[in-house]
Symmetry: C2
Subunit: 492 residues, 2 copies
Amino acid sequence: MAQQPINMIQINWKPDKDARSSLYSQIVSYFQERITSGDWVSGQKLPSQRKLAELFGVNRSTIVEAMDELMALGLLEGSRGGGTRVANEGWANLIRDKTPDWQSYIKASRFYPNVPTVQIINRLEFESGITRMSTGELSPDLMQTKITQDILSHLSDRKIFMNYPDPLGMPSLRRAIQEHLKKIGIEVPISCILVVSGALQALQLISTGIVKSQARVFVEAPSYLNSLNIFESVGAQLVSIPMDAQGLAPWLTKDMQSGGAHSLLYTIPTFQNPTGCVMPASRRREVLQYCTERHIPIIEDDVFSDLWLDAPPPLPMKAFDRCGSVVYISSLSKCFSPGFRLGWLVGPEAIVQRLADVKMQMDYGVSVLTQQVAEELFTSGAYEQGVQNIRARLKHRRDFMMLLLERYFDGLADWNCPAGGFFVWIRLRNGVPAESLFKRALSEGLLIMPGGVYDRNHTSSIRLTYGYLPEDEMARGVKRLSEMLRTLQPGA
Amino acid sequence: MAQQPINMIQINWKPDKDARSSLYSQIVSYFQERITSGDWVSGQKLPSQRKLAELFGVNRSTIVEAMDELMALGLLEGSRGGGTRVANEGWANLIRDKTPDWQSYIKASRFYPNVPTVQIINRLEFESGITRMSTGELSPDLMQTKITQDILSHLSDRKIFMNYPDPLGMPSLRRAIQEHLKKIGIEVPISCILVVSGALQALQLISTGIVKSQARVFVEAPSYLNSLNIFESVGAQLVSIPMDAQGLAPWLTKDMQSGGAHSLLYTIPTFQNPTGCVMPASRRREVLQYCTERHIPIIEDDVFSDLWLDAPPPLPMKAFDRCGSVVYISSLSKCFSPGFRLGWLVGPEAIVQRLADVKMQMDYGVSVLTQQVAEELFTSGAYEQGVQNIRARLKHRRDFMMLLLERYFDGLADWNCPAGGFFVWIRLRNGVPAESLFKRALSEGLLIMPGGVYDRNHTSSIRLTYGYLPEDEMARGVKRLSEMLRTLQPGA
């Protein structure tokens, strides 16, 4: 788990075809410069020769020639698994004596790298030619840019606050969030609200600020939290708890029975990621009571609830919490703008103060530009208008995805129609390994999420989204996946 | 060091004088509600009765009566050190059985709270009636709000990008930063630039991503880094290295001689925080060579350099770095806007990729609103115009501060005239303890930084700023400090 991958070099350069020096020698010089300056370090891998030829817009033979020269210089070497990498030896006398051994610094740190599949996805999502069939955000064409432009225009008429914000977030924004929360039954003073850079940062602050090494963090099986390594990095252990049709059912296992020192429950009761499941109100009360009796605090992740498509979901568990057992987190990322990086955490004051202190050591708070935009979004009613616009269009997309699945996945898989959010959880039939489908799809530039990322026992499920791709690409992708799926059937 | 303070309760409420129920019973109900709901937890301290009376706008006798009732109910108790706190016992049967023991969660986490003095300052800076004589940011009236409003107005005319940003930051912003860096001699591809939420986050990413437990981090004596606990939280040890008039002088000690596995040097060569010292070009080369020979990577913090007041400072060390030894960090915080929370880190690609992966696990990147504003700031020339405006006015303030010190501190202390930045480092004569002055000043609402925060051997120095207060307040504050200082003289 703690093993650190050595990344591939990144190339944002092309040889100049009009230059006096040859393409070959330009390429050699470029590699020499990047390696001897320490920008690229021992062990980093190179793209394939085919890919390099494409990147530089030169013939493959030119690449072969340049690589030969660089190997002769001792700057590159063949890698055991095939391919080429920046050399460890040879040019050492020249330069290695002076360059710090950065890889050893990376390897010595305790913080885990991202889950490998997630790393691949983080990298590929920004490359051209990739079809993002499972991405965790709404499409750019669903973004309410007009509303945002209007807000910026309003802000440009008034004096912007540009200094350091209050550690908990700007009081005016917290008051706006306080009003927003009242609509879903949460009534708290603003001293119990912490403005954060998205729900992920809230989780990061929790893992850093109140989780102890060896603590158990209970999660739904499957859970988004398994796609992160942040709790493992502080030495905590994620323990999967079974779900039934109504969501989390802790009484189906003995794991949570005794509570246990410093354990926590992490749950997404509304439009759960990745299953899309909604916990009914009665189940929310049952789970809350079960945990309260066992002194297990609950982290309630509520980032999807404004994206309901059929009917508003039940109130969050925090609305029924009379004992300060629930730390509630939400954000603008899923329902309005992923890029704003703005969320909020609601909890007992002692926890909010502790996490604010941790946040002050990490980044001194959230951008005040974004805070002022968010405040205006809430107080002007623009946020409500924006999510209404998004819901109408997202519902159409959801219905279209259901049609596609019925048409192409019938007999190959099972799924439920999600009542909100933008994920559909698809259970492949006949134990087809999702990892195989993931790899096959990736080779054609289709990105899906294999279930194993969310739970080790869900290796035959995949997560797709109807929130990102245009309809024609969605249709092409689902059709292509179904074709691959047929070839992966046992006996096919 | 790892001991966790229990914070004071926060009150943002007043009894309603027009309500039917008495002020006394409203106050009792408010406390009951906040304690039994778990918002306030065992051990949290209450403000003094005098302060409570002031906060609620009621007579002291009403407070005394309400407190008596709450103590009788077992919800409050007297604290050993005087004062009152939320009780541990008594109401337990009622509620504690259900509330998670949050304080034990906080205490069990490995992450250190902020340095106590820094915690006090973080909290007080946002309270009214406090005169911030040492704060680490420019005054709101120096903020270039007009320039920022113009940028927002430009942005409101075009389609805003609102999705998740590239893990390294938006490529268009990185290209703008790349051009900005060329002006100070740093030429790097954009794959070596990571956009971060301020220089503090860069340090946090470094401590989390490439620092090993037990590693030694060399810092200037005194250093800003000693005011943070983030390196200690990952088990590293800060080692102070002496400075002379030209700045850091590692050869004056044996500590850095052998390098040592996974050690790092953290330095602020330009307008050092807190001393204001500028390392001349020759010294920069000497330090770089000294570290390179010993395989000690350098973290170069360059957040102040655009605030030069007399002449541009020497180029950063990163401009001479041919071996990938230097990780360079800078931001908009000190020279343009603290609240934007936008900075950049420049280093070898392998380091940038590792830290981007860590950042993706912490907050998924920097607000795209702020990124787009920053890009426009750099590409339009507005940033350059803004810092020019600030420099002109800051120079005036610096000169005024020098006049004040000559008038009031003559014979009491020594200082140098800072050539840039906004701090002046004042060495008190006769060994007067800065901590005593800090406390005395605090009792009158004057906030200064005692030197001990930056180095344990600099307990007789203080840091003041000329960047924040208006001239009349600056004058009143310096005069008042000098009066206190006279009473603190030995034999006074």
